[in-house]
């Protein structure tokens, strides 16, 4: 491959420069780490990411114009050890072009939003430098052409999520949330590493285009090996993209500032797992078992998280579990073989979830930090812009027809029965989860914006709509959430609406082979239109139900009194955290205490002290040789003389 552009490195480096300027230069100039004004730091950071977006757009246009199929830039050879060749190479093709635009575009909007959100914050320069570093790492993840670079970015975003979640580190709980995110991520990364090692062993290379090329030219891999590799990589994806059992960090990650949740946990970092699977789709195609595992884990996670979301009171927690649930949908799509659909849902989810998070941030900002929905209500007339945009986002999330979420979710639901790797039960789980999604979206809107005002008097005084810095990004994202779905109109509707093509499918075809969905499902003989209409009815009715019912009451046990214990279980998140604490954290802590008290103090310290004491005692013993008495020394000399004489007599004189 030859270099055909120098844009890619700049796209990567601009946020990095922003990181250094906000992180090093600004403190040096202002003489302290918390002295930079938020607006200045924010302006610098937004400028850098904005320029990265423009460069990304330019690169995208180059790809779109058809002059190249991919853009490649090899900067230098990083490692060359025997068989292992890892250069620092960046490659943009149609798949990561989309992701680059998402990262830099939505990233710029979020940077802009953050200027308003963090305007009263002291450590703003630190925040913006971390945000820029995150964008740089995420770009490295998607643009890197070999697995080690991808992993470098993978770890980098893990680090940045730790830094940003634990941004207000003086609060122990928030700091612990950051730690939890990083540690759980790292557990998944072990799986990713094992997958990488196995890939290197069997493919002899770690460069993505070579792996995919050797698979497409018919390289045979034993079934069990392929399954092992895919499952190992999936474990990594589980950690990063918060699926069962490693999803536990994402709800806690809401301790960070809300724009962070929007960028990292809605739009970008959590989608890294989906990107990785989409990128390596020829490898995953080899193993039906691994795909089945992925699909089932994804579906079950979606259902699981959806059930928890309807019982939460914190607005950000609802969105967090919603994110886990939607990620489950994406993995479900990957698991049935619909990789393009997964990318489509990734894109639409980025739009509406970022919108929802930023909107919730606006609400929280307006309510002076109040996050509990039971203490909000009736905010519609006070926060019109926020309400309008969040309403669009909620509609998109629920899958109301013609909004973006509808197209992508529907494609996933139909793929579960239309593709050869699909299964029938997945459709049912998907539909139930879609219903739950609509319910909790409606519930969220109802409890926050409609119904009675339950605000605290003090909070009500400070209630104000956010400034334009925060509302403009909201509107931009609302437009994308509303109309973004038209990039992926299925052929059924496209024919009706006048030959609208499935733009995304055509775009991604060269990277991910398109799988034509038949009109009638394979696993279950249902026509696509039936699925579509059915899911629309479910979505609309559940959304309306959610909006109507939860204006007056908050929990499902107030609706159906028999569900009291269910509500307790759901509100306690199935007590999974406590279970992990008991099974894993406690034993580990006990072992650590044991090591510290016994092994460290008795064995190691004892050993070291013994050396000191031993040396001293030995010295004491040897000291007694120095008697000071010359005649003793003479005796010792004589002893040596005797030995010499003996030797001389034996070997010279007695021969």
């Amino acid at each position: 491959m030859t270099n055909n552009t120098s844009l890619l490195l700049w796209i990567l480096l601009l946020p990095l420069f922003g990181f250094f300027i906000n992180g090093l230069a600004m403190p040096l100039i202002h003489g302290g780490f918390s002295k930079t004004k938020a607006s200045l730091a924010g302006a610098i950071a937004t400028a850098f990411i904005g320029c990265a977006f423009l460069l990304g757009l330019a690169a995208f246009m180059k790809l779109a114009s058809g002059s190249e199929t991919y853009l490649y830039q090899n900067s230098f050879d990083w490692l060359r050890i025997g068989n292992l060749y890892i250069p620092f190479e960046l490659r943009m093709d149609k798949l990561n072009g989309i992701l680059v635009l998402i990262i830099t575009g939505i990233g710029s909007l979020i940077h802009l939003y953050s200027i308003g959100y963090m305007s009263h914050e002291e450590g703003a320069a630190r925040y913006f430098s971390y945000l820029n570093l995150f964008c740089c790492a995420m770009l490295l993840l998607v643009l890197g052409n070999n697995l080690p670079l991808l992993f470098f970015g993978w770890e980098g975003v893990g680090l940045c999520s730790y830094l940003l979640i634990g941004f207000w580190f003086t609060d122990t709980e928030k700091a612990n949330a950051g730690k939890k995110a990083f540690i759980v991520n790292r557990i998944g990364d072990l799986g990713f590493l094992i997958g990488m090692f196995l890939i290197f062993k069997h493919f002899g290379t770690l460069r993505l285009h070579e792996i995919n090329a050797s698979l497409s030219t018919g390289m045979l891999l034993e079934g069990s090996v392929a399954t092992l590799i895919c499952l190992a990589l999936f474990v990594g994806a589980t950690g990063k993209s918060a699926q069962l059992p490693l999803y536990i960090w994402l709800p806690d990650a809401m301790s960070g500032p809300t724009p962070v949740s929007a960028l990292i946990h809605a739009a970008t970092m959590v989608t890294a797992g989906v990107y990785m699977i989409a990128r390596l789709n020829p490898l995953f195609e080899l193993s039906a078992d691994a795909l089945a595992v992925i699909a089932n884990v994804g579906a079950f996670t979606a259902l699981f998280a959806g059930t928890i979301a309807i019982a939460q009171t914190d607005i950000k927690k609802v969105l967090a579990y919603s994110t886990v649930s939607q990620l489950g949908f994406m993995f479900l799509a990957c698991g049935v073989g619909a990789y393009q659909t997964a990318v489509f849902h990734l894109m639409t989810h980025a739009f509406f979830k970022a919108l929802l998070f930023l909107g919730s941030g606006s609400v929280i900002h307006a309510c002076s930090g109040e996050q509990d929905m039971t203490k909000m209500g009736g905010l519609k007339k006070y926060l019109p812009h926020t309400h309008n945009t969040m309403f669009v986002g909620a509609l998109a999330l629920s899958g109301i027809p013609l909004f973006s979420g509808f197209f992508s979710k529907d494609e996933i639901l139909y793929s579960t029965i239309a593709l050869p790797h699909g299964h029938a039960h997945l459709l049912f789980i998907g539909v139930i989860t879609a219903a739950l999604t609509a319910i909790y979206s409606g519930r969220m809107m109802a409890m926050t914006f409609y119904g009675q005002e339950r605000l605290d008097h003090h909070t009500k005084e400070h209630l104000h709509e956010s400034g334009p810095l925060m509302t403009i990004p909201l509107y931009v994202l609302a437009l994308l959430a509303a109309f973004g779905g038209f990039l992926g109109v299925p052929h059924l509707i496209g024919g009706i609406l006048g030959h609208m093509p499935h733009v995304l499918s055509g775009w991604l075809d060269s990277v991910i082979p398109t799988k034509e969905l038949p009109l009638v499902g394979i696993q279950l003989p249902i026509h696509e239109a039936v699925v579509m209409i059915g899911s629309s009815i479910v979505a609309v009715s559940c959304f309306l139900f959610g909006v109507k019912t939860f204006q007056k009451i908050f929990f499902i046990d107030q609706l159906f009194p028999g569900l009291k214990r269910v509500q307790k279980l759901l509100a306690g998140k199935y007590f999974i955290d406590e279970l992990y604490g008991l099974l894993i954290v406690r034993p580990l802590t006990r072992i650590a205490d044991l090591c510290a008290e016994i092994i460290d103090r008795v064995v190691i310290d004892g050993f070291v002290l013994m050396i000191g004491r031993g040396t001293r005692d030995l010295g004491k013993r040897f000291r007694s040789l120095q008697t000071g008495d010359v005649q003793t020394y003479a005796l010792a000399t004589l002893f040596g003389l005797v030995v010499l004489l003996w030797l001389a007599t034996k070997y010279i004189f007695m021969q």
Binding site: T627, G628, D629, A634
Partner: protein
Amino acid sequence: MDLKVQVLAAFLFVVGLLIILTKKNTIILLMGIELLLNAANLSLVGFSNYLGHIDGQVQVIFTITIAAAESAIGLSILVNLYRNFGSIKTDKAVTLKG
């Protein structure tokens, strides 16, 4: 005759060694040193006589001379020892004891 002389020289040497190692009186110790030197001289002269070289006897002249010088200095040291430690017992001069 030669063997007798040499064996006597060896014997005198050993006795001199024993005096140095076991006696507590420094003057006797110095006398032991003289005995050692004497034994060496005897052996030298014996071998010079046996083998027919005159160099052994030349060496003996030098040795006797140096032994005289050394005994003079040894006695001066003895006087100093007596002045510093108040006694000529060897077990009193052990300030270098570790």
